[in-house]
Every structure is written in structure tokens, then in C-alpha cells.
Amino acid sequence: QKEVEQDPGPLSVPEGAIVSLNCTYSNSAFQYFMWYRQYSRKGPELLMYTYSSGNKEDGRFTAQVDKSSKYISLFIRDSQPSDSATYLCAMTRGSGAGSYQLTFGKGTKLSVIP
């Protein structure tokens, strides 16, 4: 079993839809949770990060972490064609061995159709 599982999609939605992306993980030592957006031929760009459990909102984006279920989500409201990209979840330990490496999911490819 991989440490981080993410459905690779592809996911296709109409413009204006609410998009839900999610990841599950198996390592309870993970404390920091991130969502990255990666456009074709580019490096990942940090969208959101959350420490431990809870919700965080930034504009059209909301990140949720449920540590009891080992489940994280990213919601995109009023999706735009410019949101079309691959979305990667990533996580890391808070301290100790392995705390400096990000463990990524496979990424979900999202297409927002005008």
C-alpha cells in the first residue's frame, strides 16, 4: 500500500462547477498537508497548506484535513478553464526523521470545460 493514494482521474467538469479533489494516507506521523497545482511542462506551485486537522479557505479554494480518517480534500468553487491542471496532494512529518521530505500523491488531472 502506498503512503499516499490519489485518484489520477482524469476529471472533467463544466465551467462554474464545484470541484472536489481528495487523498487518503496511511502514515499517522504526517502533520503538514499541502496541495500543489502543476500546469503542463511546469513545476508544482503551492496552492494551500494546512497544519494538522481543520479547514482553511483562500478565495475559491478550501482545504480540509481529517486526521482521524486520514483523508484530505481540496474544493474549488466556481471553477474556471484556467484551473485546468494536475493537482497534487503532498504531506510531511512535523519533526524527526523524514520531516523534510514531501510525500506526494500521483496527482489528479482536472479539465474545466468552458
Binding site: V4, M34, G43, P44, L88, Y100, Q101, F104, K106
Partner: protein, 113 residues
């Protein structure tokens, strides 16, 4: 404000050859990490350099080595290239002990033939 700069952008090498990839971190960042991203996969951690020392290493063989210079720039070296080393190699920089403040470069696309 220049972000993370990687060179070259593309590279084609033959099996068995050696390759060196370069990275200049974002201004103000002193830590550099390297990741390998195979097609259709998430990035996988290779190693991290801080204060010119390898601070942490992922599950990669010794053929993968690196270096960090006093100006915080870094190199990734891969010896005895295999076809399976074909991937996008990403450099990420961060300030000090940050657990999440990573800025990624656009990567070097390595093709081994």
C-alpha cells in the same frame, strides 16, 4: 523576484553516461531539495541539502549524488544512467527548517536512450 532556476531544460543522454543538473534557489532560500517525477506520477524525494551537507535522503541508489555550494545553488549528478532514469527532475528551495514553504523550479526533462 527570480524563483527557482534549473538548467538545462531538456537533456538527452545514452545509457551508461553521466549527467549533471543544476539549480539556483529562490532568493532568500538556503535549502535545496531534488525530486524525480516520472510520467503520470507524483514527484519522489531524492535528497535535501542544507549548509552544504546532505540532510536527508530518499530511496534512491548511490548513483544519485549531489552537492550544494556556498551560494546555496546545487547540482544533482546521476551516474551510469538507466532507461528508467528518464523523468522530470525538479529542484525545490525553501527557507531553513520550513516543512512546507517549498518553491519548485520548472524542472529538467531527462531522456535516456
Amino acid at each position: 523576484d527570480a524563483g527557482v532556476t534549473q538548467s538545462p531544460t531538456h537533456l538527452i543522454k545514452t545509457r551508461g553516461q553521466q549527467v549533471t543538473l543544476r539549480c539556483s534557489p529562490k532568493s532568500g532560500h538556503d535549502t535545496v531539495s531534488w525530486y524525480q517525477q516520472a510520467l503520470g506520477q507524483g514527484p519522489q524525494f531524492i535528497f535535501q541539502y542544507y549548509e552544504e551537507e546532505e540532510r536527508q535522503r530518499g530511496n534512491f541508489p548511490d548513483r544519485f549524488s549531489g552537492h550544494q555550494f556556498p551560494n546555496y545553488s546545487s547540482e544533482l549528478n546521476v551516474n551510469a544512467l538507466l532507461l528508467g532514469d528518464s523523468a522530470l527532475y525538479l529542484c525545490a528551495s525553501s527557507p531553513g527548517a520550513s516543512n512546507y514553504g517549498y518553491t519548485f523550479g520548472s524542472g529538467t526533462r531527462l531522456t535516456v536512450v
